[in-house]
């Protein structure tokens, strides 16, 4: 702890006079701890997680506006707010935005931030690749959305069935942006997937075997494995579509002998695992929230884990249920019908385990808990309507109607997004060091729940009445008027509720200074991220935690007395780990991931407009990779780790160190530190 006692000028970098290391002579090694430079060069999984979350919320606003445009158009019959062509673009971009630019990155935000914390690691396995993954996602999302200003967005629906999306039927550049933009975000997901799979397998703290990992980490791990295997399949499909559209290949040209089912198979082999990629992180989040606010351990932990793994496996064997109406033949239809019914079993196991966790628990209905219960209820409705799709004859009736729209909004909005909202309220104090306002949060929840059910509940009825999805309008007298109006009113209630969420963020931030800080463990929670200060210090853990059992942190606070009653032996504050952060070692920030990622949209624009731009993009990517390779992952101008005075003397971290000083000092004397030094 010498670091704190010394005057800070004694900690000046040894090479400060020589100027920092230049990789390729282009960039000074980034050293900023605050300001925009710190953010664009960061490799810290927490900052990257926050940026993922912020970008997802930004795209959420865009996707939400698109949703409102759709509902405004359909509020009454024969409206002409949007032309049929524009309507195609709006619903397509709404779907792409919400799936690829909102739900996936929001999951990535939680996974980036909390996987390392829950497994007791200092960062992810490849911190710079993590930054590359984020920036590539962001530029991919921006690239997709610039299509609005360059002749119109994609208009072929989110699953973009070729040959319908060939140049002949979709002559604008919208589908080119779709194919190339999703290729770019796919690269981001693949890199992120590889990174987090390796992180979970390799960076677990001592004693944390796989079956001691929190359920959130487990579900995230399954998600990342699914991504690793699903992304290349859609990459193939997107390559084929790109080659067809831009280079006159013949993959989807029926006149040349193409099979229109090829795209459908490739897309849905990706598309169905994708559904679980969207929902599993949210399942993980509520599996953390429900035990904490029921004051009980998760019911049937191994069942929770293995049902998640089972979903991961079975998710690959059900894709053709999206294609029952395409004439696959009775044997395929029967097989996929049965497998689809089967996959409801592990999902049902999860639902029952959550309920059994709550059963007999001392439930406190905090905002995160409300969202979690909301997920259980809404996802069950969505899951049940999903089982009705598994019945092929019924599905043939439902295909391409609003019944389908209702179903997938119940699972993706009522499932994934409810889970993420719960996660925001649950982990906000850990990430930012202040609570989101509970009262406003509850209003947010109830309004969303009401608006959500008003919007999507009636769509079941509309669908069964025969209203097909993706039609820009309907005639008066079809009997669709009333429920469409209800649905549109619901959509605007959701929008208002989400506005309250943003208001809550701003207001809570402003009020935060007058309230006591949340402390390390405000919810009396169970997993390792609550054993460190809030907000999380830059180095995460002072010492590598040593784990002996599932919910290890909780057992540091509670033990059984001789009568078998659970008694508290320590408060969260006491159980939170004090330690010696001076031994921690962090990877150095870098600009190169940003440089590489900026190359991708240039390649994309170049392929569409002018190959010269592609050359610029390729130069950026290749130059970036060279600069990256030549720049060591560690800043060699900083003292080597394990060195006595290593550590970060500046800014927020020093403050955090000072706060933790007394305990830290004791621990540093009392314990032999064996880790990461």
């Amino acid at each position: 702890m010498a670091i704190i006692e010394r005057p800070s000028d004694a900690l000046a970098l040894p090479s400060a006079g020589d100027g920092p290391h230049n990789a390729l002579g282009v960039f000074a090694r980034p050293r900023a701890k605050t300001g925009w430079r710190a953010w664009v060069s960061t490799v810290d999984h927490k900052r990257i997680g926050i940026m993922y979350g912020a970008s997802a919320l930004f795209f959420f606003v865009i996707g939400g506006v698109e949703a409102l445009a759709i509902r405004a158009q359909l509020a009454a019959p024969d409206q002409k707010l949007l032309s049929a062509d524009l309507y195609n673009q709006v619903f397509t971009m709404h779907g792409i935005t919400m799936i690829f630019l909102v739900v996936m990155p929001m999951g990535a935000a939680f996974m980036n931030y909390f996987i390392p914390l829950q497994i007791g690691a200092r960062d992810v396995a490849f911190p710079r690749l993590n930054a590359l993954s984020f920036w590539t996602f962001l530029v991919g999302g921006i690239f997709l959305n610039t299509s609005w200003f360059l002749g119109g967005g994609a208009d072929g629906g989110w699953f973009a069935y070729a040959p319908n999306t060939g140049v002949a039927f979709s002559p604008s550049h919208g589908m080119d942006f779709y194919a190339l933009g999703l290729q770019i975000t796919g690269i981001a997901s693949l890199i992120g997937g590889i990174n987090l799979v390796v992180t979970v397998l390799n960076l677990r703290a001592p004693g944390m075997s796989l079956m001691k990992m929190p359920v959130f980490t487990w579900m995230s791990f399954v998600t990342q494995v699914l991504l690793v295997f699903a992304i290349p399949v859609i990459s193939v499909a997107l390559f084929l579509l790109t080659f067809d559209r831009l280079f006159d290949a013949n993959f989807f040209d029926v006149g040349q002998g193409a099979d229109p089912l090829l795209w459908e198979h490739l897309f849905w082999i990706f598309g169905h695992p994708e559904v679980y990629i969207l929902i599993l992180p949210a399942f993980g989040i509520v599996s953390e929230i429900i035990p904490v606010f029921s004051r009980k351990p998760i019911f049937g932990y191994p069942f929770m884990v293995f049902s998640g793994i089972a979903i991961g496996f079975m998710g690959w064997g059900v894709w053709a249920h999206h294609m029952f109406a395409s004439g696959l033949g009775p044997i395929s239809v029967a097989a996929f019908s049965v497998s689809t019914m089967f996959i409801a079993v592990p999902t049902g196991v999860k639902i029952l385990n959550w309920m059994a966790t709550m059963w007999g628990g001392k439930i406190s209905f905090t905002t995160p808990m409300l969202w979690a219960i909301g997920l259980v209820a809404m996802f069950t409705i969505g899951g049940l309507s999903g089982v009705t799709h598994a019945v092929a004859p019924a599905d043939t009736q439902q295909t391409d109607t609003y019944y389908i729209v209702a179903h997938f909004h119940y699972v993706i909005f009522g499932g994934a997004l409810f889970g993420f909202m719960g996660g925001f309220y649950f982990w906000w104090p850990k990430v930012f060091g202040y609570f989101l306002d509970e009262k406003l949060g509850k209003v947010h929840f109830w309004l969303t729940l009401i608006g959500f059910n008003l919007t999507f509940g009636p769509q079941h009825i509309l669908g069964l009445q025969g209203m097909s999805r993706r039609i820009p309008t309907y005639r008066d007298g079809y009997g669709f008027n009333f429920w469409n109006m209800v649905s549109s009113i619901g959509a605007f209630i959701i929008a208002f509720a989400m506005l309250l969420f943003f208001v809550n963020i701003v207001r809570s931030k402003r009020k935060a200074s007058q309230l006591p800080p949340p402390g390390p463990d405000p919810w009396d929670a169970r997993s390792l991220e609550w054993s460190i200060p809030s907000p999380t210090p830059e180095h995460n853990f002072d010492d590598d935690p040593i784990v002996t059992r599932l919910d290890d942190f909780w057992y540091r606070k509670y033990q059984e007395d001789e009568n078998g009653n659970i008694v508290q032996v320590a408060t969260g504050e006491e159980a939170a780990m004090p330690g010696d952060p001076s031994r921690s070692h962090l990877p150095a920030p870098s600009y190169w991931p940003l440089v590489v990622s900026i190359g991708f949209p240039f390649v994309g624009y170049g392929l569409i407009y002018n190959l010269a731009l592609s050359a610029v993009g390729a130069a950026l990517i290749l130059g970036g990779i060279v600069g990256w390779a030549l720049e060591p992952p560690d800043d060699e101008d900083l003292p080597p780790h394990g060195h006595d005075d290593h550590g970060d003397p500046s800014g927020a971290e020093a403050a955090a160190l000072e706060q933790g000083e007394p305990e830290a000092e004791v621990a540093a004397i009392g314990e032999e530190v064996t880790v990461d030094g």
């Binding site: 690691a121 200092r122 590889i194 390796v198 295997f229 699903a230 193939v236 002998g257 070692h585």
Partner: protein
């Protein structure tokens, strides 16, 4: 490549981050080639005009270039073995040989593509052409990336930065290289040999 937060400390699995990352990437790449090979199998006999596989393939020529690529797997294994022994000079020789054999294979592919094109099979000629060039083109691109990685290792070695302590780096490139070879065995069998 050793872009890790653990800094060579023991990992939970005992496999280094970079090597495990390569394994996971290769698992993912299986699905990329799986998709491309399935596409080819579906489309190869569906052309309505133009040249067919049977009319165009020169199996003896491609067998020779396949043999060259397979031999490069042997030299890659020798490169890993030599760095394990600490024999930096032999390592350099085997890395260079592997890259050279890979480049020979690529040369063969360029020759093959130009010949096919001259005989009348372009990328847009028919559906078989699109599928064939896409599948083999993706494989060729993988080989080229492999050659770049081998050349980078060679450069590191010449500069004295590739001793036995960085055996992992050679082994990881080796994993990639063997994978690309195995994929070629599949492609050669499925595209060229099975009628």
């Amino acid at each position: 490549m050793a872009d890790t937060a653990t800094h060579g400390h023991a990992t939970a699995t005992g496999i280094s981050n970079a090597k495990l990352g390569m394994w996971v990437y290769l698992a993912s790449d299986c699905l990329l080639f799986g998709g491309l090979i399935s596409t080819y199998l579906l489309l190869r006999h569906r052309s309505v005009s133009g040249l067919t596989p049977a009319e165009i393939f020169d199996i003896p020529f491609t067998s020779v270039s396949s043999f060259v690529l397979l031999m490069s797997s042997l030299t890659m294994a020798l490169a890993v073995a030599s760095i394990t022994r600490g024999d930096v000079r032999a390592n350099r020789v085997w890395l260079a040989t592997t890259a050279l054999l890979g480049a020979t294979f690529i040369g063969g592919q360029v020759y093959e593509f130009t010949t096919f094109y001259r005989e009348g099979l372009g990328f847009t000629t028919n559906i078989f052409g699109s599928a064939f060039y896409t599948l083999t083109g993706f494989h060729g691109a993988h080989v080229i990336v492999g050659i770049v990685m081998l050349m980078s290792l060679l450069m590191m070695s010449v500069r004295g930065n590739l001793g036995p302590e960085r055996r992992d780096a050679v082994e990881i490139v080796g994993l990639y290289w063997h994978f690309v070879d195995i994929v070629w065995i599949l492609i050669f069998t499925i595209v060229y040999l099975i009628p």
